[in-house]
Subunit: 158 residues, 2 copies
DNA sequence: TGAAAGAACTACGAATTCGTATTAAAGGAG
DNA sequence: CTCCTTTAATACGAATTCGTAGTTCTTTCA
């Protein structure tokens, strides 16, 4: 419990700094850039606002990130024909390439979890983390999808 | 599982932005400032290097943070008599005040967890999170203390 | 219809973090 | 004792994030 506290204190600055997998990719792009590319890969083309919402970031930050990614040639931004205010963001070929690499890296991270967790633990971990996240989510409408699950009995090893 | 993925993508930018308790305090100090004050409250006076290590931040960042906190009057830095290179960092009265407030806020956060988790779930949550953190910790010597615990059977509700 | 309200972005500046270079003290090796 | 290496910390500049203030369309409603 105290250890959870400690972990929390360290997590404010440089979150997830302990992960080594991210380093090679972070030579080319920022972590937020990387998140953006992954989101585009998963969700397809999005507007700036949608992207910002998916990232949980303010729109002004999203502008900075998009500008960077555009300069590096990883995304393209085109103003929508229906509504000329909105810009639709698309992955370029090169961007798709990086996004795929990022996905591999994420899978590798997930692999680490699977290496130390039993499948049941992994499921339980997921459920507990989501439950915790929901608990912290002020009292506003939960943005995270509700996971209704029947009770599960599992054994933690080690 | 996919939801864990999503949560991860959002956590890079603005980690723990979903917590409302931190907002009143973050008017006065940064989140990293807050971590620093808490660490000083728990561990007592520390040197700059020790502080950086506790924070998991580079020393140069620690310098910036300490300069800020000193300017605001929350800490004092005195060069050690034994070794004139090291600076010992101390909480001022006002700093102690803020640190105590921060501690209250942390307890309130913990209270949220206790509200939605059963004691067993909380224990399991702690164990699994620590286990996961250790798994991500490259292959270097684990900085987090090993939690050897016997197997536990628990039931997750909801 | 046309003026006001609202929406989707961008611009800009301030604050923060951090890598690299630098300063200053301490600890040897000869 | 003198030179060299190591250690503790700061200085500085670049990059990032984000709040606030525009800018440019779109919608509304009187």
């Amino acid at each position: 419990m105290q250890q959870l506290y400690d972990l929390f204190l360290k997590t404010g600055l440089r979150p997830f700094a302990f992960m080594t997998e991210t380093q090679p990719l972070e030579q080319k792009v920022t972590r937020s850039d990387l998140s953006t590319l992954l989101i585009l890969l998963f969700r397809g083309d999005l507007t700036m606002s949608e992207l910002a919402a998916e990232m949980g970031a303010p729109l002004s930050s999203m502008t900075s990130i998009a500008k960077r990614l555009e300069r590096k040639g990883f995304i393209a931004r085109a103003t929508s024909a229906q509504d000329q205010r909105v810009k639709r963001v698309t992955l370029t070929q090169e961007g798709k390439q990086i996004a795929k690499e990022s996905e591999q890296m994420m899978l590798s991270l997930l692999g680490r979890l699977e290496a130390v967790f039993t499948p049941e633990e992994l499921e339980q971990f997921t459920m507990l983390v989501l439950k915790a996240a929901r608990a912290f989510q002020s009292d506003g409408p939960s943005k995270l999808p509700e996971t209704k699950k029947a009770s599960v009995k599992i054994t933690i090893e080690e």
